[in-house]
């Protein structure tokens, strides 16, 4: 099954906003994607609560897994998103 392991790039980890962006992207993927930290249980990548419960910080390696048509493309996109510093991309409206 196609997998990708990537270190979380957001400076404050996979907290509320980066997690939400990731979850929305995972929900839009054509295949069912799971995410896990190390050997822990894989959880649905489109579940906000499950992703938050991972408690992944910057640098934490997470593994994405998916199967079916388009799995590789979906995983590439999601892995690239996780590797980015999404906190740095926040609009400076405050």
């Amino acid at each position: 099954m196609p997998t990708r392991t990537v270190a979380v790039g957001s400076s404050s980890g996979l907290h509320a906003r980066p997690a939400k962006l990731f979850v929305e992207a995972a929900a839009a993927a054509p295949v069912k994607v799971t995410i896990r930290v190390g050997d822990k249980k894989a959880v649905p990548a489109k579940s906000m609560l499950s992703v938050l419960a991972l408690g992944a910080k910057k640098g934490t390696e997470v593994t994405l897994e998916a199967d079916g048509d388009g799995a590789d493309e979906a995983l590439d996109g999601l892995a690239a998103l996780l590797a980015r510093d999404l906190d740095a991309e926040e609009p400076s409206d405050a």
Binding site: S11, S12, G13, L14, H15, A16, R17, A19, K20, L21, S47, M48, L49, S50, L52, A53, L54, G55, A56, K57, D87, E90, P91, S92, D93, A94
Partner: protein
Amino acid sequence: MSELLDPRAIRLSETAADRDEAIRRCGAALVEIGAAEPGYVDTMLAREKSISTYVGEGVAIPHGTLGGKELVKRDALAVLRFPEGVDWDGEQVTVCVAIAAAGNGHVELLAALAEVLLDEDQARELREATETDTVVRLLGSIQEDSKS
């Protein structure tokens, strides 16, 4: 109990006409317990406009933008329950767990909250809570072990 969760910031029979009013009430609770400057509330509204803080199970977690961190005086939570519900961009929110966090490390805090909400029974208890003690029991174990 956790210093993070001040009983004065647990308010279980709130009403709000809409999402923004609910966020203002959350922000006001954080300001009243001395956790944040009044300006923090505007950064909470800005954050919500940029991306919804709805997490599921009828719960939203309003908090400020990164720029709002300097307006946080101490890390704290506020739990506001809206028994009649608040429309949150099409989702129905019953409980807001508002967050004031000066550091970068509220990942553990969110993870602990998410664990509570992933348990259907605990999530329902939180939505139906009418006693401060119930909220403290459910969320009081969320510790601020997230210094960074």
